[in-house]
């Protein structure tokens, strides 16, 4: 099987049987979504570890996933659970933890990220996927199981709120 051409379902079935190359291909397709879900809740310096923990967890639990088509929602659920757990252990208290990554981000980026984190869950997750991870609306829909219309609505409503927040607080 050519993992580059394989569907998510095919990759899940192969990874479930222990094929690491297939699992690595799933990582390539979903790590940005998982990172976005983590970054919506934990500091940037912790989000990368959450991603690795999520995929290590998924590797062990994948044999129990009966419906391969459910993978996007399943991995997102693990990511949210892990991120909430990490946030409980170490909440994002100030900008410093967002700046402590290598290479360090710009200050205005940290300010914008703080403003996004202040938005409701649905909007911040979608906006981080779009603005931080660089996924397009159709890609977000394909990788999360959301409908394209829902993604579009979330992006536009979230962006409207973000503009208001950035305008009010002068975050940028």
């Amino acid at each position: 099987m050519d993992v580059r051409e394989a569907t998510v379902e095919q990759l899940v079935i192969a990874a479930r049987d222990g094929q690491r190359a297939a699992f690595a291909a799933l990582y390539e397709r979903f790590h940005r979504v998982v990172h976005a879900l983590a970054l919506a809740r934990v500091a940037a310096c912790d989000a990368g570890d959450v991603v690795q923990d999520v995929f290590a967890d998924a590797w062990h639990k994948l044999p129990r996933l009966r419906d391969p088509a459910a993978f996007p929602g399943w991995i997102a659920a693990i990511a949210r659970h892990r991120a909430i757990d990490a946030a409980r252990r170490r909440p994002v208290l100030d900008a410093a933890a967002d700046l402590a990554i290598d290479p360090p981000p710009r200050l205005e980026a940290a300010a914008a990220l703080r403003a996004i984190r202040a938005l409701p869950d649905t909007y911040r997750e979608t906006l981080i996927m779009r603005l931080v991870e660089g996924l397009s609306g159709p890609e977000i829909a394909a990788h999360t199981g959301m409908s394209p219309d829902s993604v579009r609505v979330h992006l536009h409503r979230g962006m409207k709120l973000l503009r208001e927040r950035l305008g009010e607080g002068g975050e940028r």
Binding site: A95, A96, R106, A109, H156
Partner: protein, 331 residues
């Protein structure tokens, strides 16, 4: 419903300047790391072997009891402790050869020259133990996790509230304030801490060195933690700090002269280690490089007020954690 021909936010088409600027800035946080090496998958036990597993567990428990009575905790049985896996060369856990297992409280893990051990710090992080190292788990629980590094080198990455993870060395204790650091202990106990992300407090004899990202600090036998210096610090500054840490108070003047924009962490640490005219000189240099915030009393800092000094640190942390934001040398 009729939609516009293009929707830059949804389709990533077109180029609204505001959107492009946001994408460019926030792209700094984009995830690019590759997948870490996967561990062997935990196999699910089929029903027919359940009895055998129970019997094996009972034998293992018995072994733990027997070994425990000899004061030599085993490392092969899952239980309270840190899971580890060794790569590259042999290692010994509780005195026995071990490739993987659980490091129980009280047991030593020793790595040979080419070995590296990956140790999971409960559910809060990872530790890499490099070759020729010796570590011991002192305590682990909800209140915190404590290791002893007797010799060698480790790299730690922790996601936990500050002060939950501590590593003791023969001369100091490294208290994690988050996220990542390296700690090395030389044969004479001399300890070197290098912080790669976040901040660490190196503590001993009632003295604490606050080491933020991209700084290092030495702790020598009988002296406790020295003064942190930036990894980019000049030779002149390093020499002056070494003299100060060895007890030469006159080195303060040389430190003040040599300190540049990248050395504010060094100067801040000296505020609590100096007094009188020395502290005033340190204050003046730090204030010139990064002016004290208006809501913090300069007089209080000159007088050595710990709360005021701590508040100034809180104001400086954003700069220390963000070297690239101010240019390579402006930390």
């Amino acid at each position: 419903m009729t939609r516009a021909m293009t929707d830059p936010l949804y389709d990533k088409t077109g180029g609204e300047p505001e959107l492009v600027a946001l994408e460019a800035a926030l792209g700094d946080f984009a995830h690019r790391a590759p997948l870490r090496e996967l561990p062997p998958r935990r196999s699910r036990r089929p029903a027919p072997v359940v009895a055998a597993v129970i019997a094996a567990a009972a034998l293992a428990a018995l072994a733990v009891i027997v070994v425990g009575r000899r004061g030599d905790p085993g490392c092969q049985v899952a239980g309270a402790g840190f899971a580890f896996a060794v790569d590259g060369a042999p290692a010994r856990c509780a005195g026995s050869p071990a490739e993987r297992g659980t490091l129980p409280v009280g047991a030593w893990l020793e790595t040979a020259g080419a070995a590296t051990a990956d140790v999971r710090i409960a559910d809060i992080g990872h530790l890499t133990v490099f070759g020729d190292s010796r570590i011991r788990l002192i305590d682990t629980g909800a209140a915190g996790h404590r290791l002893e590094l007797a010799r060698g080198r480790i790299a730690a990455r922790v996601t936990a509230p500050p002060r939950l993870f501590v590593v003791d060395t023969p001369v100091a204790s490294a208290v994690d304030l988050g996220c990542a650091y390296e700690l090395a202990v030389e044969p004479d106990g001399r300890t070197r801490l290098r912080v790669t992300s976040g901040a660490v407090s190196l503590e001993a004899h009632g003295v604490a060195a606050y080491a933020p990202m991209d700084t290092e600090v030495l702790a020598a036998p009988g002296r406790g933690p020295g003064t942190p210096v930036a990894l980019t610090a000049s030779a002149a500054l390093r020499d002056a700090v070494a003299r100060f840490d060895a007890g030469d108070r006159s080195a303060v003047a040389a430190i003040v002269v040599a300190a540049g924009p990248g050395d504010t962490a060094t100067l801040w640490n000296l505020l609590a280690r100096t007094d009188g005219e020395d502290r005033a000189a340190v204050f003046a240099r730090l204030d010139a490089l990064t002016p004290v915030p208006a809501d913090i009393s300069a007089d209080a800092i000159r007088a050595g007020d710990r709360e005021a000094i701590a508040r100034w640190r809180d104001a400086l942390v954003g700069r220390w954690m963000c070297a690239g934001c101010f240019g390579k040398s402006k930390r």
